[in-house]
């Protein structure tokens, strides 16, 4: 991570609010803080910062940073109101500077398997003596599918569904059941477009195929099963919409594979 970016963040926060960088995504640098920005509570909190990108023209950069910071904050507040949907809690938003404060979710997986996002979780079960097809994996993937189902059914899209953008959380170290949270809504949108939803599903499917190829078939099936469950709760109307979305999903997938690549 570049020193310039860190220096900028430290200056913004002042020495009174120390933070530790934990991840550099494409758009944002993520920090943890033990202090809450405005409550006396201590614990663990996430600061997500979208630094200016030198590579892009300042006017593109400013517009994107503001648009995505606000977009993400707004989406988090709307999604919170949907029953059953799990997204991180918004603590504060400073859109002018590209900062978001969020609740910390997830944990370090045992045996150094990394942070508990879906990607690392699936790797954990795929390596050593893990069983990649065990019921915990199946259960968790179905729950992930349900989360996406809830998102889509209620008229939203994620825009960047990958296995790193799904965080798993559990109530205690001995708890075997994991609750998936969707995170990183910088490219999310409020939309009823079947196309956007189809693309969302396609992007996730491809992410699973590219990073967990050996077991991708079963994994994608479980995801889709969870997804469908949500739609099926809404009777005939749900079935009709489910068909629309899955049909478009297959079209997008086909388009991807067959896309003409001639100059």
């Amino acid at each position: 991570m570049s020193e310039d970016v860190l220096a900028k963040v430290y200056e913004y926060l002042t020495p009174g609010l120390p933070v530790v960088p934990i991840a550099q995504g494409a758009e944002a640098v993520v920090f943890t803080s033990e202090k809450h920005p405005y409550l006396p509570n201590s614990g663990k909190f996430i600061l997500k910062y979208r630094p200016p990108k030198r590579y892009r023209h300042p006017s593109i950069d400013k517009a994107l940073t503001k648009h995505r910071t606000i977009g993400e904050a707004r989406l988090l507040t709307k999604l919170f109101l949907i029953e059953g949907l799990k997204v991180p809690k918004l603590i504060a938003c400073d859109a002018y500077n590209g900062y978001l404060w969020l609740e910390f979710l997830g944990e370090e997986l045992p045996h150094g398997k990394g942070f508990s996002n879906l990607k690392n979780f699936l790797w954990m079960y795929a390596t050593d003596d893990g069983d990649p097809y065990c019921s915990i994996v199946e259960e968790t993937l179905k729950k992930v599918g349900q989360q996406i189902g809830l998102l889509h059914w209620n008229g939203y899209c994620h825009g960047d569904l990958t296995s790193s953008n799904i965080v798993l959380s559990r109530s205690g170290k001995n708890e075997t059941s994991w609750q998936p949270y969707l995170i990183d809504f910088g490219l999310g949108s409020t939309t009823d477009s079947v196309e956007d939803k189809g693309v969302d599903l396609y992007v996730l499917e491809r992410a699973i195929i590219s990073t967990h190829s050996a077991h991708a078939e079963a994994y994608n099936e479980w995801l889709l099963k969870g997804f469908s469950e949500i739609y099926k709760r809404y009777g005939d109307a749900g079935e009709v919409k489910l068909k629309e979305v899955t049909k478009r999903f297959q079209e997008v997938r086909l388009r991807g594979r067959k896309r003409s690549m001639i100059g």
Binding site: Y38, L39, P40, R74, F80
Partner: protein
Amino acid sequence: MIVSRFPQFPHYEISIALYEDVTNVEELRAKANSSLPFALINASLVFSVEQLYSAVYRVLIEHTYNKIQTASFSSECLLRLSASTKVSESQKFGLKYPSNRIICVNIEETTDDSIERPDETIFELVKGKSAVLEDENLSKKCDADTLRKIYKLDQTFQPERPDEFSRALVNAIQLRGL
């Protein structure tokens, strides 16, 4: 009275106090707009400490990086509590409607960053019984229906826990005007 500083803004001292059974509400109302340096907030529209501090944090963010839209910290506090961009709407959080439960908020720029002993005299104009500023106390006596109206939370939103209701308020405060 609670005196604190936010870690990110060490040069601002924030004093907050809750008074109940206030007897001079009319007098305070008359002075609220002009001469009082601190904000007077209708406590029945404050559900949680988080809601309150979340608004104060935004006051300081706007003050430092953008520009505050009202004349003073005190009016800005009301504005940032409000979910609407209209300044007139934010008056609801003040003493527009009579209430004898009042929260006082004072934001003071200081030269150092040490926490002083609470200066009980800053709010001495308020004639009332000092009460503990904590979630339980606030939520119990809070006017939830009016809050729902102000923050546009319809009845389909039925949180299981009080902190979820508080979260909805924080959401609205953080996104106001963006």
